[in-house]
Symmetry: C2
Subunit: 417 residues, 2 copies
């Protein structure tokens, strides 16, 4: 078993779950639409995908997705398919093409979601995984315990390098641990990365000299391979401690190339994730996808936020955050990464985030929850640390707030989610 | 107008199309969930996304996708949003993060599809585009006119390098123009790319020496950047003329890096495309996405096939094929690429493919349609060329078949689609 890759899918089919599983296994290994002369039984045994598990869970009178094959009923179920590692090797881009390739278009499926992925030791050991992870990030940030408190520079775009640095100065003085570029802020002519990095790091280095605390700033270096490489040189020279990228724009291949080259933690932004996951009928679950991103080298992974402004439920967010902290496989190195909560976060959501994980090893990013605190950003940051303290003490955030004005103001100013 | 990027979306919303468009434009530019002090009117004017067009087309009593905001009715419509190029520059990975980023998760949208993308000259000129395109591919293949006839090595996986080369010999002798690896065949230990390339190119080089015709073989070099680079060196040394990759595994960044490095045409396989496009409620249209792939450097792009074994309608396939041949923008170089038809193709589908395009500048890949022809692969290939001839002469394929036994056998053996 250990030399096979296993993928579990939730499917719906006009031809029944068992038959659909056979088509899926065939399409994603030796198959074509007619059996060819060269396709011997021996060859099938050596290379074919195999159905490991197949269970019917229900049915629907209509197809969930447009489907060339029609039927009176569309059976639903879960199937696990496995492939011998000998067919694709431990290569992540080729594993992706196998477990998430043409199968999404099969006429024998009227719904399909990739739920989980089991990768054997050979795959884990052939890929780099995160260089820093949770512990390495805490070291660089100088935050040995408790949730790391971060924010995003807003407005997302339009600020000059100097305006950005001025905001950064205020935030550093207010006691922030982490600041990030927005994913829309990269290297536009209105705020070139080089200028921004120079201005921001001048502020943060001076702040570190004064206080001993080096605030981590995740510069969005998303770009072509050679551009990212030059930007990493610059960031390293300036003493920066984090590089952010848009995961979907880089692809697994771009991400791995960045990981090999980067002396800094890789902050993985999952913008566009809704495209792969919002439909209940077609997609990839975050627990499956994040394994590939971690193996390719992401140190930090966005998981949305509890009570977020988007559409994911708290259960999905909690599951995503836990997945990032779970070992990537039962074999080989654990390769855990740092979950990043963000999207409409305030003091109300700190304890629920910690509860979802059962620990405080996460980065909590709040925009308005810090900047729009009635008593200013410093009070906003303190309110988040006080909320974490309440979690540690096993107190409700409301009762903890009675003696803590910053937390009380936050709970009053911001809506409970 | 020319210095702005425009994206057109089909949306559905619990808050109405106009308001949803405003949220979308806000989220994807300066916005956050509360207006921040630093966000001045002047800054908004300079950087904000703008609604260019907004039209209501209907409504639904229920939301098409799970949606945090509920309503009695969900208005449907089309909106066009534009961004100043100054905010993200001409960088494709950053353009993708802007036009296809967090917006897919907005609670104000209960359906969203990116339909089209208009890119200004600055973007076109900052990206390489295809190095070979249609004309360059015809030159390398030695096929000055008519559809290029290709096939896929099947079984997809399991054949050794020697077994693959032996199939290639038969196909070359049968008169094929193009052969490709399956997307599941890359560099697995059972058939390492190096061995396969050596064996296959020995056959094809010998065949070229004998006949003057160099059959194009698209080796699947999908892998990490440095692996692909080494494989390109090998392919060039062996006199190979095409490199294939899984587009979604590479990402735009990986694809562009390959383009910069590759002396061979880049054959873009879109496996996993269903994930981005099969749902009518969330996704990206192929006409929009292929612009980015062409700009990053794909020479050949898979478009599925007329009467395919998957789920796309013939209209969608025809639109996709035409898109690949249409100039990438009304400004700058045309950057057209070669559409590749495949999936369950036989002599029945040649003329409909040519009709969909109005020309014969396409690569027609048939597996069973060649290998399972009752009179063997050579007859299979001849049947496809005869079908193209029928199109050129303005005859039906059936009437043309009366004097052409290979075509007649094909039409009899294979099901009309």
């Amino acid at each position: 078993m250990t030399n096979r890759i296993r993928a579990t899918y939730e499917i719906e089919s006009p031809v029944g779950v068992q038959q659909a599983a056979e088509v899926l296994a065939g399409e994603q290994s030796t198959g074509t639409f007619v059996r060819l002369a060269a396709e011997t039984d021996e060859l099938r045994d050596r290379s074919a995908a195999r159905i490991e598990h197949c269970v019917v869970t229900g049915e629907s009178p209509t197809p969930s997705l447009p489907c060339r094959i029609t039927a009176d009923r569309y059976e639903r179920g879960q199937v696990t398919i496995s492939w011998p590692i000998a067919t694709m090797g431990p290569s992540l881009p080729n594993i992706l093409a196998t477990v998430a390739g043409n199968l999404f278009e099969l006429a024998e499926l009227s719904a399909i979601r990739l739920l989980d992925l089991h990768l054997p030791r050979e795959v884990i050991e052939a890929n780099p995984g995160p260089r820093f992870g949770i512990a390495g990030t805490r070291d660089l940030m100088g935050v040995p315990e408790g949730p790391m408190i971060g924010t995003i520079i807003k407005p997302s775009v339009g600020l000059s390098a100097a305006e950005t640095a001025s905001l950064v100065r205020d935030l550093a003085e207010a006691g922030i641990d982490f600041i990030k570029d927005d994913e829309l802020q990269s290297n536009g002519p209105a705020c070139p990365l080089e200028d921004r990095a120079n201005e921001v790091m001048a502020v943060l280095n001076a702040h570190a000299d004064r206080t001993g605390k080096k605030v981590m700033y995740a510069f969005n270096i998303t770009g072509e391979i050679d551009e990212m490489s030059r930007r990493l040189d610059l960031l390293e020279e300036l003493g920066a401690t984090c590089a952010m990228v848009s995961l979907q724009s880089l692809g697994l291949v771009g991400l791995r190339a960045l990981r090999e080259r980067s002396p800094l933690p890789v902050h993985g932004h999952r913008n566009g994730w809704g495209l792969l996951s919002r439909s209940p009928h077609i997609g990839i679950s975050f627990p499956a996808m994040q394994k590939l991103w971690r193996l390719a080298g992401a140190d930090h992974l966005h998981v949305n936020g509890i009570g977020n402004k988007f559409t994911e439920s708290d259960e999905i967010v909690a599951e995503a955050a836990r997945a990032v902290q779970t070992r990537v496989s039962d074999e080989g190195p654990a390769f855990t990464a740092l979950p990043v909560f963000s999207s409409g976060q305030t003091a109300w959501q700190v304890a629920p985030s910690a509860e979802a994980l059962g620990n405080e090893d996460f980065l909590f990013c709040a925009g308005g929850g810090i900047m729009s605190h009635p008593d200013g950003p410093a009070a906003g940051i303190r309110s988040l640390r006080q909320a974490a303290e309440a979690y540690r003490l096993g107190r409700t955030v409301e009762s903890h707030a009675t003696e803590r004005p910053e937390l009380l103001s936050a709970l009053t100013a911001f809506k409970r989610k």
